[in-house]
Symmetry: C2
Subunit: 87 residues, 2 copies
């Protein structure tokens, strides 16, 4: 399964979320990840993310597609993330 | 066409980008938008966004699908955006 994951979490929890998501998906922008993942691994990721976020403040949006081929991706502006070095 | 748009722009330009994107798409998270849009309108949006962003600093990612049905959306945590009032 192909997923796009976008999170909007409080600054205090950004580091943890970033580290977690990078274990499962590819980092493509500040708070955006994408990649192929199995149902089982995705459930594991959601479970672990759920422990990091505060439901009243943070949110995660997941877009799931059976196949990446249904989606075209276009990037406007810079491609690389300059925050890479802080991890 | 169904699109997901995510931007990562400098704080100085966030207001302008937000205002622009809201004219064309539905705002679903801090810097995430989605919606049905025609090819023509999307080109217009990209052209206008291109004038706002600085290519060396900012980026916009577009995921395009011919049909929303190829994507499932799941939201974890809060659904509403508390920043709504600053617009």
């Amino acid at each position: 399964m192909y997923v796009i994951l976008v999170y909007d979490v409080n600054q205090k929890r950004v580091g943890k979320m970033l580290k977690l998501c990078r274990k499962y998906l590819n980092w493509i922008q500040n708070s955006v990840f994408e990649g192929e993942i199995t149902e089982v691994k995705l459930k594991e990721l959601i479970m672990r993310a759920d422990k990091i976020i505060k439901d009243e403040e943070d949110s995660i949006i997941l877009f799931k597609s059976r196949d990446e081929k249904w989606l075209d991706k276009e990037i406007i502006g810079k491609e690389k993330n300059p925050l890479d070095f802080i991890i």
